[in-house]
């Protein structure tokens, strides 16, 4: 095994071009476990800790440019207003120690359906900017996850930034685990209201081979909100609408039975989370945020 220590982004790209099998390591959350437990013996480890660019973020007019290695702790503490869904998701990642080192780049690189950031990124709307010595490109989050623990990256590419739309409305994230902290998702749900476009977006984690959006549910809700004039009249969402939305979110799941939970429980739980997060975000939109938002 060789340990590559690029001091800059350019050096990192060059190293990845030269050694396409090199495994990038930043927070170490996934890679080190695989090494410690002898599940993986990469030929090269590509350390990204010294690449300062990856730890930077910039809040723009419409979106946030988030470095792949910005720790979850920083997202929770510094970007709560701009990226509320991702900040909530970050707060559920593993433990304080892990949140101090891990960043969104790791979640995207591993592309596990259980990664906590995915539902929030899907719901908020994001683009992943990847780069190689050949150049850079922006991959829409919807096209990023290509299979179980597979993503759209080419062998010589590294994740540099994630461009996430700044919240234009309330966002929520909810995750089921069988422990009250430090737990991998049995399933997770992210919801973002986008009043500027009068749309909603969703994200579902751990309930399908990849993170997915519940598109039918979004379409249904978009239409129902429009039809009822909800965006303007700020009425309480009709229970039947919430119920149908929840059913459609459940229906978007394609889960399996495993040690963490049954497929049928995952479908059920996604429905409950969909209904609850819709209530919380909508109540917040209607202006009663203080009553409905969780604090921690």
């Amino acid at each position: 095994m060789d340990f590559l220590r690029p001091a800059s982004w350019e050096e990192a790209l060059a190293a990845k071009a030269e050694h396409p099998t090199a495994v990038p390591i930043a927070g170490g959350t996934d890679v080190m476990v695989e090494i410690n437990f002898d599940h993986r013996r990469p030929e090269y480890l590509l350390d990204l800790n010294r690449v300062g660019d990856l730890y930077e973020w910039e809040v723009g007019e419409d979106s946030v440019r988030l470095g792949a290695s910005v720790p979850y702790t920083t997202i929770m503490e510094r970007l709560r207003a701009e990226l509320p869904g991702l900040a909530l998701a970050s707060h559920t990642v593993a433990s304080p120690q892990i949140r101090n080192r891990g960043g969104v780049g790791g979640n995207l690189g591993t592309a596990s359906p259980a990664g906590d950031a995915h539902p929030a990124l899907l719901a908020a709307g994001a683009e992943v900017e990847v780069e190689s010595v050949r150049g850079s490109r922006r991959i829409p989050i919807d096209a990023f996850y290509t299979g179980v623990k597979r993503n759209a990256l080419a062998a010589d590419e590294l994740i540099k930034w994630v461009h996430i739309d700044r919240a234009d409305g309330p966002q929520q994230f909810s995750k089921v685990g069988t422990r009250n902290a430090m737990v991998i998702a049995v399933c997770a749900f992210g919801l973002a209201l986008h009043p500027s476009t009068r749309t909603v977006r969703t994200g579902i984690g751990s309930a399908a081979p990849t993170p997915v959006r519940a598109k039918a549910a979004e379409e249904f809700l978009n239409a129902a909100l429009e039809e009822g004039g909800f965006w303007d009249n700020g009425k309480i969402i009709t229970p039947s609408v919430a119920k149908r939305f929840a059913e459609l979110c459940s229906g978007a799941c394609n889960p399996i039975d495993d040690v963490r939970g049954t497929a049928s429980y995952r479908r059920h739980a996604v429905g409950v989370m969909a209904r609850r997060t819709l209530t919380w975000t909508w109540e917040s939109y209607r202006g009663t945020a203080a009553r409905s938002e969780g604090v921690a």
Binding site: M1, N36, P96, I98, N100
Partner: protein, 189 residues
């Protein structure tokens, strides 16, 4: 490979490091600092918690090569770290109120005369140590939390320590210890 970094204020060099080794392994097996513990090696228990450039991390999840040129504080350096934080103002007076007549120990197995950080003394005094395997990681995590948040609520303590598993105590006496350390810290100010 060779790795140079600072541990508890002292420069250290480790040679012939296998590239897959963790910081935890290097500390324990190469630098003679086994205080950080190897309970799960998957970031789930917090027993290996150290501060890397000031930030609590699981040293089992840090590749040895990643610490090149960086600064690490382990449980072995916690007392010094705490002393430096209090700017040479020996944290002693409130500690003398430690309950029990042998807080510093008079038995053979005690580290006699050891100078302790307030959080270390509080763990002893509150009965928060049983087998002690989780203790080093908890101490590093709790000390850092009290540095950030000197007056934590119970929920704050629980959240800050939620990455550190303990199998012996049921956590109640750990809660007592952190509350005690916080109270003593407040008195000392």
């Amino acid at each position: 490979m060779r790795v140079n970094f600072t541990v508890n204020g002292r420069p250290q060099e480790a040679d012939d490091v296998w590239e897959g080794e963790s910081l935890l392994y290097v500390l324990r097996e190469r630098l003679g600092l086994p205080g950080s513990k190897n309970a799960c090696e998957q970031g789930e228990c917090g027993s290996c918690t150290v501060r890397l450039d000031g930030v609590p991390v699981c040293s089992c999840l840090v590749a040895a090569g990643q610490v090149e040129g960086r600064d690490v504080v382990t449980v072995e350096g916690l007392a010094d770290h705490a002393r430096q934080r209090s700017c040479g103002d020996a944290s002693g007076t409130s500690l003398d109120e430690a309950k029990g007549w042998q807080a510093r120990g008079t038995d053979s197995q005690t580290g006699e005369g050891a100078e302790l950080a307030p959080i270390q003394q509080a763990f002893i005094d509150a009965g928060a140590v049983q087998c002690g395997f989780c203790t080093p990681g908890l101490l590093v995590a709790a000390d850092e939390m009290l540095e950030r948040n000197p007056d934590p609520t119970d929920a704050d303590i629980r959240e800050a320590l939620s990455g550190n598993l303990c199998r012996c105590t049921g956590y109640e006496k750990i809660m007592d210890a952190v509350r005690l350390a916080a109270a003593r810290q407040q008195e000392a100010v």
